[in-house]
Amino acid sequence: MTVLDAFDLTGKTAVITGGNTGLGEAFAKALVEAGAGVALAARTRERSEAVAEEIVASGGNAIAVDLDVTDPAQVDGMLEGVTERLGPVDILVNNAGLCYHGPAAEVPLEEWHDVFDVNVHGLWHCAQAVGRRMIQNGGGTIINIGSISAMIVNRPQWQPAYNASKAAVHQLTKSLAAEWAPHNVRVNALAPGYVKTAMSPVDEPQFRRHWIEDAPMQRYSTPEELGPSIVYLASDASSFMTGSILVVDGGYTLF
């Protein structure tokens, strides 16, 4: 056994919410590379199927599952479906999330609710349903996607609901970790900085001054660059880690 074996996920089953695009897609592919079978649980089935097919074509194991995280009934259905098709869920990556930009004084009520419905309540539904099953099965690993926005206030754009929702995710991570540690369910969060995705238009010139130049590394990340961090958190390589927030932000929160 070498140290690299600690990162191996052969035979494990992982669910990635929002797993068909951006960060979620990259996380799914990284987990597949490490040997896991993955369920891409997302709202847009066509896209999920396309990514699943691509993974299968390259020799991995992936399925597409319909999931709107804001609907607890769908979360239960997802869990049953994945368990039936891939086996008991060992790894849950709570990645589904959304963000609106706008000054606090002008945020429409429905946008505020949207953000909390997906980023907080949706994550809670998934963590509770899958966590309950992990306890029954004797253990598991949950990775919540938090954000540096839980620690700092982004600029120049305003995004009060998103920032507050991610702070909730970080503290929920610690709460579940402490509560479920005796059940061998580990709960940690990854807090990325700026990553090039549809949600974060990192190439747009109006964002360069703060998003790029404020970061000590003077660059943004690609989704793929964060994949190994998920493998570390999902695997036995982090077996003593629970309740931690892993910040991977090019140094953004240092300044």
Binding site: L4, P182, P216, E225, V231, T242, G243, S244, V248, L254
Partner: protein, 251 residues
């Protein structure tokens, strides 16, 4: 696993205190991942044995002595040409009530745990900056975040808080020049450092009941984190403090 960037093949890694305890496990893990190992160790008994086991180099190094650190770096550059990874692991702890701490005990802990980390970062950092790449992992502790109890160890705790902030400072300074600097903050690990505490029930009961996972870490549960941070797997991480404490700081 190498697709994910965890390999250290053809990289030169220096581990201070690499001949014993957690440092030994870290050295073995980095070697396992393919690194050419340099064991920078003050202990002339264990250092050479570990270097031989790992087909690496032993360099007698006293991290509290800047001249010794400079000599170490010079020798590593002569023999291996470069340093890709530096793990600052050497550390000591004294459990003495603060009102009774002798001057020299305070100075000893700070000299090894904090000043020694800086000397090594500065000297190895110079060589890394010249090449424009490198990864430094400092072994801090949850003691840099919380105050351990029931045992008294103010110097250790302060030194580890210093390591966490030194890490962030160097990360900010060197990020745009290709050097990443991160820290790992373990909770209680089963090592000779914690053996005494585990033998006293009034200590071990508090330690275990304060840890949600209800146990100590094995050294091999910390070493993979060092590999993760040292390797390209963490290429966007700098200034990060990776807490691995079984949930201790959640409570």
């Amino acid at each position: 696993m190498e697709e994910n960037g965890f390999s250290l093949r053809d990289r030169v890694a220096v581990v201070t205190g690499g001949g014993q305890s957690l440092g030994l496990e870290i050295s073995r893990s980095l070697r396992n991942a393919g690194a050419e190992m340099v064991i920078a160790e003050v202990n002339d008994q264990t250092g050479p044995d570990v270097a031989e086991e790992l087909e690496g180099t032993f360099v007698h190094t006293d991290v509290t002595d800047p001249a010794s650190v400079r000599d170490m770096v010079e020798m590593v550059l002569d023999e291996h040409g470069r340093v890709d990874v530096l793990v600052n692991n050497a550390g000591i702890v004294h459990n003495i009530p603060s009102e009774e701490v002798p001057d020299e005990e305070w100075l000893a802990v700070i000299s090894v745990n904090l000043t020694g980390v800086f000397w090594c970062c500065r000297e190895v950092g110079k060589a890394m900056l010249e090449r424009g790449s490198g990864s430094i992992v400092n072994i801090a502790s949850m003691s840099g975040i919380i105050s351990n109890h029931p045992q008294a160890q103010a110097a250790y705790n302060a030194s580890k808080a210093g390591v966490i902030t030194l890490t962030k400072s160097l990360a900010g300074e060197w990020a745009s020049r290709g050097i990443r600097v991160n820290s790992v903050s373990p909770g209680y690990i089963r090592t000779p450092l914690t053996e005494l505490g585990m033998s006293k029930s009034e200590w071990s009961e508090v330690w275990l009941s304060s840890t949600p996972l209800g146990r100590l870490a094995e050294p091999e549960e910390i070493a993979p984190a060092v590999l993760y941070l040292a390797s390209d797997a963490a290429s966007f991480a700098t200034g990060t403090n990776l807490v691995i404490d079984g949930g201790y700081t959640s409570w």
